[in-house]
């Protein structure tokens, strides 16, 4: 008996020559926030759309809440989905849109309460088309919860949102975890995966290239923290470069790897002795961003422009 809410084994999806998902395995446990992290085209959305019963896999085994994909109509009653690039009916209000999807299920939750939870109760009479991107996304989250699902799929829920709206969505994801729901999240934002996830699979080109808790991944694959010294002037830079040959210079920012914490004190002392003015010194820990760069040799960013 496995306690996995979602179990995936050897999953493949091919479109003719193109292999979108190339044999992946993972298990999502009950109550976990599980993230598929990766750049566009990594196969994240294809994977979740198979789990949402929207696409048929070319090969592999999938079990959701103990059911195979052939039981899609039963699965659909027990999961909630926020699709990528979500949209609703433009000329219906927030409440009407949520009620519409509640009406598709036999035993929906109270939509008024749901709207309060996503903080849209004051906007419930506004037409969907007049909402901001962040509010639209919250409508989408409310819609994905109308059937009180055990698993919630959130496919790139914050793409294209401003930082404030992104934080709102994050709080809601945390709220879902507090309610004990299992959340499967896809994102190409490292900090999002890092902030929200209990478990992460990093995908690239249809494969899972790395997995674990955020901490495990960074500890295993991350580099040392770095100190970034900003605008220390020629004299300051000269002194630092002379002392730390393994540092690197980007414009007038100097990156110094911190093998041990003594180096931090060393940097400050050198700057002091040189009597130079500098803007700031930042100590930056290794992030998933760095891990991805290290593992693939590619930048993760630049996803937003490609969307839609």
């Amino acid at each position: 008996m496995s306690e996995g809410h979602i179990e995936v084994k050897g999953l493949r999806k091919e479109y003719g020559e193109l292999i979108a998902v190339d044999g992946i395995d993972f298990t999502v446990r009950k109550g976990q926030v599980f993230s598929l992290l990766g750049p566009n085209g990594a196969g994240k959305t294809t994977t979740v759309e198979i789990l949402e019963c929207l696409r048929t896999p070319s090969a592999g085994e999938v079990r959701i809440l103990g059911m195979g994909l052939e039981q899609s109509s039963k699965i659909k009653r027990r999961v909630g989905v926020l699709p990528q690039g979500f949209n609703a009916f433009d000329r219906l209000t927030v409440k009407e849109n949520v009620d519409y999807f509640a009406g598709m299920f036999d035993d929906p939750v109270d939509t008024e309460e749901l709207l309060r939870w996503v903080k849209l109760e004051k906007r419930k009479k506004e037409l969907f088309k007049n909402l901001s991107g962040g509010m639209k996304q919250r409508v989408g989250i409310a819609m994905s919860l109308v059937n009180d699902p055990e698993i919630v799929f959130l496919d790139e829920p914050t793409t294209g949102l401003d930082p404030g709206a992104r934080r709102d969505v994050w709080r809601m994801v945390q709220g879902l975890r507090d309610q004990g729901k299992t959340v499967l999240l896809t994102t190409h934002y490292m900090e999002e995966a890092e902030a929200l996830s209990d478990y992460i699979c990093i995908m690239n080109k249809g494969r899972i290239i790395c997995r674990g808790t955020p901490r495990e991944i960074i500890n295993e694959h991350g580099a040392d923290p770095v100190a970034i010294v900003k605008a220390a002037g020629d004299k300051g830079l000269e002194a630092l470069i002379g002392r730390f040959p393994d540092c690197s210079l980007m414009e007038d920012n100097l990156k110094v790897p911190i093998h041990n914490s003594r180096r931090i004190a060393d940097i400050l002392n050198i700057l002091d002795d040189a009597e130079v003015h500098y803007d700031e010194v930042i100590i930056k820990k290794s992030t998933l961003e760095d891990v991805f760069l290290k593992l693939t040799g590619e930048e993760l960013r630049g996803g937003e422009e490609d969307e839609e």
Binding site: L54, F89, D90, R91, L127
Partner: protein, 362 residues
Amino acid sequence: MRSRALVDFKATVLEFKRSPEAIFWTFAFPIVLMLLFGAIYSGGGTGTFNLYVQDHDDSDESRDLLESLRATGVVNVRLVNTTLDADQVIKDNSLTSFLTIPSGFGANLSANESAVLEFRKDPSSQSAITLYSIINAAVQQMDPGLKNVTPLISVEEESLVSERFEFLDFFLPGVLALTIMNSTVNYMIFTIVEYRNRGIFRKMMTTPLRRPEWLASRIMWQMTISFISLVLIWAIGVYLFDIAVTVNLMTLALILAGTALFTSMGMAAAGLIKDEQGAGALAGAVTFPMMFLAGIFFPLEVMPEYLQTIAKFIPLTYLAEGLRDSMIYGNMAGAWFNLAVISGLAVVFAALGTVLTRWKEE
């Protein structure tokens, strides 16, 4: 199943009510068509025709004929001096039609012998065709004895003859059929393409809503539109143009079946295209041939043989014919036949539409 279709139906009504453009275009089409054709074919003071006449007879009978032409209210009789050469007059004035009453016309009629009128017309002129049928009708009204006179006007073989006063009647069921087809096919294609491109279908697919339920909701909705169109067209026909048509249970059944058929056809057709640019082209490709080949604007009998054959393969033909059978001719057998054809096609296309509709982008 019923309840999910109803939820969708309710949402569609709300969305429609909030879209002035959608309301305008849906109902402007039948109204404009009715007004246009009504104005053209009913005369009604606006559409009058000049008829140039050379009366070589100048008898009581010829004057009676001209009087009854004037009495239609559609014809301005312009008498041409009999000393002039008719061909020269036609040429000089670029006339498209010219009526000559030969001398002896009245005398022949009095003697119960055949009388012949000479009507010259430009076959490409719509007003000449209309005048021709008006003259023919006037002659028939004038004297029952004349009905035996053949051929009354030897230059013409035209099946529009004597249908002038019925043409609007003929046209009304056609407008109704055309409206049902046009609004239904267009609405379906554009809605499906929009829902697909905006990912609304993808969201719907993650719920228990099934495609047959969605199709059922669409059919209910399109039927609502069809019935509103019926009321509009009927009201315009009856109050503005004095058309006498019947609306019976058969008419309603035909409208239901026709709407189901074109909803399914639209759904099937939308499965063939990917983007919004394709939608307009596709809607045109489906509706235009049907519009012109289904005997909506002209009776099928006046079309060349091969077009009549093509018309048999056009679903709209059966709806127009069926509606004419039930609304004008009172031909129940014909209406039943057409209803059967439409219902059969509706089932085929509903199956096709359900299979072909892709709810997601690949």
